[in-house]
């Protein structure tokens, strides 16, 4: 009889302890969730900041005229280079929906919009050549500057009409 009582008490104590630890765990969980949520929010926030981070182009570069005529040959070169070097992130048609885009910290911008297309040839050339953050520099990857100008020419054909 005594033994039973003792066991009963023990079990109550145990269950109380269990509840306590559960509460403790719960509070820990809440804390963890809050932290994760906060970090997601802050990450999302930095993402927003990165999206709109301006990319200044020196005036001299922005004003450089495109020396390569946008003819059939230049567009063919540009298209071939676009498919090899650019399409995996920027997408086949420049929408920023390439297969690698989702893994990037910076979402590639939609290059078909008039806001993007209003940039000068010189600005696009500068950005392709120099790169920034996730966007690599293509100075050596496309070693002939005329070929980068051809890519710029091809990018013009991506504009939504």
């Amino acid at each position: 009889m005594f033994d039973h009582k003792f066991e009963y008490r023990l079990s109550i104590k145990k269950s109380m302890n269990n509840i306590k630890t559960k509460i403790k765990m719960k509070s820990k969980l809440t804390l963890a969730t809050t932290l994760i949520a906060l970090s997601i929010v802050s990450f999302a926030f930095t993402n927003i900041v990165q999206k709109t981070k301006p990319w200044p182009v020196p005036e001299k570069n922005a004003k450089t005229p495109n020396p390569v005529k946008s003819d059939k040959e230049s567009l063919a070169t540009g298209k071939s280079l676009w498919n090899l070097h650019c399409a995996s992130c920027h997408g086949k048609t420049g929408l920023g929906d390439g297969s690698k885009a989702a893994q990037l910290k910076t979402q590639p911008q939609d290059l078909t919009t008039s806001a993007m297309q209003s940039q000068s040839d010189g600005s696009l050339f500068f950005k392709i050549s120099e790169g920034r953050d996730d966007m690599p520099s293509f100075k050596k990857k496309i070693s002939d500057p005329d070929d980068i100008w051809s890519v710029v020419n091809y990018m013009r054909t991506l504009k939504k009409s």
Partner: protein, 330 residues
Amino acid sequence: MDFKTKDVKLTINIGKRLLTTGVCLVACLLLMQTTASAQDTTAAAKDAVIPAKAKPVKNTFQSIWIIDNQTVMVPVKGTFEMDIQHRFGTVNNGYSDFWGLYASSNIRIGVDYAPINNLYLGLGFEKYDELWDGSAKYAIIKQTRGESPVSITYYGNLSLDTRADPTKSLFSHYTDRILSFNEIIIARKFTDNLSIQVSPSITHQNAVPGYLTKNDSTGRTIFEEMKHDHFAISVAGRYKLGDATALLIDYDQPLTKEPTNNPNPNLSFGFEFSTSGHTFQLFMGNYSLLNPGKNALFNTNSPFDYTQTGGGKVKGGKFLIGFNITRLWN
């Protein structure tokens, strides 16, 4: 018995072989000239519109490799490259080793760097023979409209067998471990999609196996199983299927007739997939080694059936699966 197997010779009709190679080369040259003249007219028409200096043709090949051979390509100054190459076992065992994929494989890991324009230096290590190799590649002439119909590149490779040999049973002298390979690569980009290259080469081995056939008071004669210098030629081509995919084919033909142990030719074919920083080549071929000189001298896998000197017929079709991966940083 041992002596007999050593002395087995492969009957390869050297005359026929030279004739075939000759015909191939002449055909290539003829093709070259017709396209060259066709391109010159368009070049002239364009020059009339924009008087600009002609630039060398770009991207004759996408990688420095075309399966088992070097291409004419020398990457731009400042390029750093890493190569990973695998050759699996031959497919002949079928399912038991999954067509060679689970057989013992050969691996080479290499790095290359372009310190100045037109020069590429490389260093690599191959599993088989624990072979280190150093290489240098220099672009001598680049195919340019109105200037040169072909691109010409020199490639040299020096390899060192670093297997432990405490009893000196493999190498009597340290220099016996060294093998040199020199080749001239002549290539032409015929159209945007088709590029072909021909590369004659010479491989020199410092030591060859041999034995005494006469050793008495009148003197000694030594029978050398192989010659020290071995000539070979390879023809390789690429056909682009799209901006990132291409078909590759490569054929290597030994030219020097060795006293014994004649090496076999190599026929390989496969695909190339490119991205901005990588090229990936997946193919089937006969070469299992990952050094151009060793392959030229010691290839035992034959693509074709052949008859040995003793009349024994040897089945060909000894193909294996392999891949080359390159990563470029520039």
